[in-house]
């Protein structure tokens, strides 16, 4: 609709409205005018007829027809009077007078052409001249007066009025419409400018402003338009800004319509997929690229297909565009090319596989080394212990002692290496729990006390007030660490020195346990070497025994328990080793180990028990024969491999089977499975006696049904104790 049509419509509607209103008002005015004219004539008629009636009173009263005629002629001379009829009731006389040309005879009482008014002539109801007389009731009329009035004059006047009114109304309408047209054109002229402005805005020229000529409604509208265009301009700038941002994004960004059609994409997408913009926009995203509806709105890995068919791994995320009404307006697909990352991951995976393989090889190496070392060591220590028991010359005994000392040292070395390796590789698992620091320290103090006493070193415990302190640790490992630190404090102390064990609460809910000695101290530049494996500093020169793995092992254990370990030292004054562990609340219920003394071993009948030892190594078999020779109540059977052992077990039904693992023909664990699977041998307790102390081995074998797990080199006393417990049925679980 253009301006002309609006103008025409307004003028037409105004013309209709005003025309109807004017016609209504003019009609009403004319009707009122007509009524007023008629009423005026009626009033004139009323006045005249009343006057004539009053005039006629006397004439009728006295019966003067001459007087009546005179009065009638006077009345007829009045303008518009058509006829006069005066009647005298008493005298039965009538005076009829009319204008020339008017036919009085046969004229109706009233018509549209004239107005007929009639009044009775009444007798005087009171005598004013006799003022003392009361009013008298009305009497019968003396006669009547009837006058006829022409309405022609009123009609003529009305016609003239109608003509004038129509002319005035028409002129007024024309004038009003002309004024309105002029005013509307003036009002619409700024709108035309505003329309031109809006058209320019639509063409993108947002920096322009529409001129505000007046501050009327159109002016306010123009101001509002200008403000809107300002905001639109700022919004558009922001849109461009964001478009630039999107274009500059290095990742692929694709906007997809709800029907899966690609609406737009950024340059990174085109570069990554090899499409031109016109090739991709408007195409369905699936199967061209991917199916957006099958995607989760979280980043996942997908594969994009390039134009050349090559697959590109991408880190993909799709999110729905939700406008205000909540309906999906499309999707935004973000994809990050992860080809390089995938390649790196593959390389990493291969490296990991290699590392794992190497680790397995190392573990295998350690296991084999351990086994191979322990096997001869088992014989060395075993026979050494046997010699130690025997009656020997002093020199021989000293030699045996040296053999045993060296063997045990070698055994500790092997154990520490394996333990460190197990912890660092995660194969050794700890069982952290709330541990009483006092109880752990007392155990360690008790073990170190003889060594300290031998050198006159005083060991002080400052933990008396910390009876209720608990730390989160593996109790056995904590005791092991404390023992290491305390034994070091004793070993690296001066004679008659002191070792002080204290603890303090630190920030972060930590408990710092200090072991302070009065030794020579450690130079600052050597402190960092303390926890390096096999780094013994001056220990070798000082003739102090040790493997060089104690502190390294302790640090591994403390770290595994979530704590830390460190040292502070002043040369000439001594050193303080500390470890920090998390403080925890005391356990609600603590298991108190039974203090009742174990029952004494039952009396043993000669050859009351049969023990089958499955072992391929002759030295080990011979060693065990020599050991069990100390127990005449035990009859030993031996087998050199697994099948033979199985057969012998089924045949002889021994009371206990000692099982080596590295057996020719059939591994020990397979033998164990067979034994447990065979009802005939399922109830025979099996004690594993192996040189393979690799981590996890014990738990696996116990799970297969072994009664106990002992490692080589064998500790004769321990072995005999386990045999007694198993044979007497005291050992329900396992024991190392």
């Amino acid at each position: 609709m253009n301006k002309q049509s609006l103008l025409t419509r307004v003028l037409a509607s105004n013309l209709l409205l005003m025309g109807a209103l004017v016609v209504l008002l003019t009609g009403g005015f004319l009707w009122l005018q007509l009524r007023a004219s008629q009423r005026q004539l009626e009033l004139r008629a009323e006045v005249l007829v009343s006057f004539v009636a009053a005039q006629s009173e006397y004439a009728i009263l006295v019966g003067s027809e001459t007087e009546l005629e005179r009065i009638g002629r006077q009345a007829l001379s009045v303008e518009d009077v058509l006829f006069v009829v005066l009647s005298d009731t008493a005298h039965q006389s009538v005076v009829r007078l009319h204008r020339p040309g008017f036919r009085l005879e046969g004229a109706p009482a009233g018509s549209a052409d004239f107005l007929s008014v009639e009044r009775p002539v009444l007798a005087p109801r009171e005598s004013a001249v006799m003022e003392w007389e009361p009013k008298k009731p009305p009497t019968a009329p003396l006669g009547s007066v009837r006058l006829g009035f022409s309405m022609e004059k009123q009609r003529t006047l009305f016609r003239q009025t109608v003509g004038y009114a129509v002319a005035v109304v028409a002129a007024s309408l024309i004038l009003i419409l002309a004024c309105q047209s002029f005013q509307l054109r003036r009002l619409l002229q700024p709108l035309q400018g505003l329309m031109d402005f809006v058209r320019q805005v639509g063409e993108g020229r947002l920096h322009r402003k529409a001129p505000v000529a007046r501050l009327d409604e159109v002016g306010q509208l123009t101001v509002a338009f200008n403000e809107m265009v300002d905001k639109l301009g700022s919004t558009t700038v922001s849109k461009n800004y964001f478009n630039n941002i999107i274009r500059s994004i290095g990742e692929s960004l694709i906007v997809v319509d709800p029907d899966g059609t690609i609406r737009t994409a950024n340059q990174a997408t085109f570069a990554m997929l090899g499409y031109e913009e016109q090739e991709l926009v408007g195409q369905p995203v699936s199967p061209t690229l991917v199916d957006p509806y099958s995607l989760e709105p979280t980043a996942i890995e997908r594969v994009y297909r390039r134009k050349d068919g090559q697959s590109i791994p991408v880190l993909f995320s799709a999110s729905a565009l939700s406008p205000d009404d909540g309906a999906a307006a499309g999707f935004v697909l973000l994809a990050h090319d992860i080809t390089e990352r995938k390649r790196a991951e593959e390389e990493l995976r291969l490296a990991k596989q290699e590392a794992e393989r190497a680790n397995r090889a190392k573990t295998e190496f350690l296991s084999r080394t351990s086994h191979e070392l322990r096997t001869p060591l088992n014989a060395i220590l075993g026979f050494g212990q046997l010699l130690e028991i025997a009656e020997l010359a002093p020199l021989d005994r000293e030699s045996v002692d040296q053999i045993l000392r060296a063997g045990r040292h070698l055994l500790r070395l092997i154990n520490d290496v394996l333990d460190i390796a197990g912890i660092e590789t995660g194969r050794r698992t700890l069982s952290p729990e709330p541990v009483s620091i006092v109880e752990a320290a007392e155990e360690a103090l008790g073990l170190v006390q003889p060594l300290a006493t031998g050198r006159g070193i005083h060991v002080f415990s400052g933990l008396a007030a910390d009876e209720n302190r608990y730390v989160y640790a593996d109790a056995q490992r904590l005791q092991q660490v404390l023992l290491n630190l305390l034994s070091n404090a004793v070993k690296f102390n001066r004679d008659h020195g002191a070792v002080i064990l204290t603890c303090e609460e630190r920030d972060g809910n930590l408990l710092r346990i200090r072991v302070t000695d009065t030794g020579p101290g450690i130079a600052a530049e050597d402190l960092h070497k303390l926890f390096v494996p096999f780094e013994r500093l001056q220990a070798e020169q000082a003739g102090i025994e040790g493997t060089g793995l104690g502190l390294a092992h302790s640090r591994s254990l403390v770290r595994a328990m979530g704590g830390s370990i460190g040292v502070e030292s002043v040369v000439g004054q001594g050193s303080t080793f500390w470890l920090e562990l998390a403080i925890v609340a005391a356990p609600l219920l603590r298991f108190e180990p039974g203090t009742a003394a174990a029952p004494p071993p039952a009396p043993r009948d000669p050859a009351a028990y049969t023990v089958l030892y499955i072992e391929d190594n002759p030295s080990n078999r011979q060693l065990l024969e020599r050991i069990l020779a100390l127990r005449p109540d035990i009859h030993l059977l031996t087998a050199t491999d697994g099948p033979a052992g199985l057969a012998l077990a089924r045949e002889s039904r021994p009371d206990l089977i000692l099982l080596d693992l590295h057996l020719p023909g059939m591994p020990g664990d397979a033998v164990l499975r067979e034994l447990r699977a065979d009802p005939a041998t399922a109830g025979i307790p099996v004690v594993v006696l192996t040189a393979d102390a690799s981590p996890g081995r014990e738990s696996r074998l116990l799970a297969l049904g072994a009664q106990s797990f002992l490692t080589k080199p064998v500790d004769i006393a321990q072995l005999l104790q386990v045999l007694d417990q198993v044979l007497l049925g005291e050992l329900a679980g396992h024991e190392k």
Partner: protein
């Protein structure tokens, strides 16, 4: 007309008698020993003037006036009850309607009428009880006094025309002509008993009289008949001596009529004399006359009137 009025009042009287018979008598007392019933019609201003004079003259003495307005609803019952009380000693009726209302009850209480023309007074039948005492202070002017005032007013006018209705009591006074001559008038008397003859009778006096004296007569004079009479007076330059102030205002050159207030006062005086036993009831004529002049008419007619002597002169300009 008069017969119709009497029939109407006869019907009203019957109603009043019945009301009086069944109305409970008010308890009497010494206070009502000298009670006077005053019956009037409040709608007539002339009656109000007379009533004021009456009320003023009765004063706050032993007489206890009781005023009954016959235009008020329940008037008939109250009048009957009042007449039935022994203490009621006199009824004063103001106007013809009041007189008719009182006489219709056939009461034995003496009745003093006033503000009536002798010609309009109720004629009591002969069978009325002889003990009834009836008197009136009429509006009819004493002839001597009337002619004297005219003489004083228009001393130069000697030919006195008189239109007289021979059927009306009082107007056929035989002493009129004698008294006129005694006062220096030359009386010319014309009889007229119908309104339609009035103009003719008036115009017949034109060559023979200097002025025309008219007597109050409800049968002849009304609004319709007075207007042509006035016109005739002006056309023939024959002054009319009217009988009321309204007549003078309507166009009579002059008028002589009673002072209504004094008429009431005169009736009160008569009543007091009667009640005190000093005088019996008797008919009287107005003792104070009012002379009025329409100055505009006299100027038109070229009359020169003398200032009034003892009588108040009212001049309408």
């Amino acid at each position: 007309m008069r017969e119709g009025k009497q029939r109407r009042w006869a019907r009203q009287a019957l109603g009043l008698v019945l009301l009086a018979a069944f109305s409970p008598a008010r308890p009497g007392g010494a206070r009502e020993a000298g009670e006077v019933i005053v019956v009037f019609a409040s709608e007539v201003p002339a009656y109000q003037e007379a009533l004021e004079g009456l009320r003023q003259s009765l004063g706050p003495g032993t007489v206890q006036p009781r005023f009954l307005d016959l235009t008020v609803a329940g008037f008939a019952g109250e009048l009957a009850a009042a007449l039935g009380r022994p203490a009621t000693r006199l009824v004063i009726a103001i106007g013809t309607d009041a007189q008719l209302a009182v006489f219709s009850l056939r009461t034995e209480v003496p009745v003093l009428s006033t503000m009536i023309l002798r010609s309009d007074a109720v004629r009591l039948p002969a069978r009325e009880p002889p003990s009834q005492r009836v008197a009136a202070v009429y509006l009819d002017l004493p002839v001597t006094g009337l002619l004297t005032e005219i003489k004083k007013l228009l001393p130069g006018k000697t030919r006195l025309g008189v239109i007289r209705n021979p059927s009306q009591t009082g107007q056929a006074d035989p002493a009129l002509e004698a008294r006129a001559r005694q006062l220096g008038f030359t009386p010319v008397v014309v009889d007229c008993s119908r309104p339609e003859d009035l103009a003719k009778a008036f115009l017949s006096l034109k060559p023979r009289a200097d002025l025309v004296l008219l007597f109050p007569d409800s049968a002849l004079y009304n609004n319709a008949t007075v207007k042509p009479l006035i016109l005739a007076s002006l056309e023939s330059r024959l002054p009319i001596i009217g009988f009321s102030s309204n007549f003078v205002r309507a166009g009579a050159a002059a008028g002589v009529y009673p002072d209504f207030r004094d008429v009431g006062s005169q009736a009160a005086d008569l009543a007091l004399r009667y009640l005190s036993g000093r005088a019996p009831l008797s008919d009287e004529t107005p003792r104070k006359l009012v002379v009025a002049v329409n100055q505009r008419i006299t100027r038109v007619l070229g009359l020169q009137h003398a200032p009034s002597g003892s009588t108040d002169l009212v001049v309408f300009r």
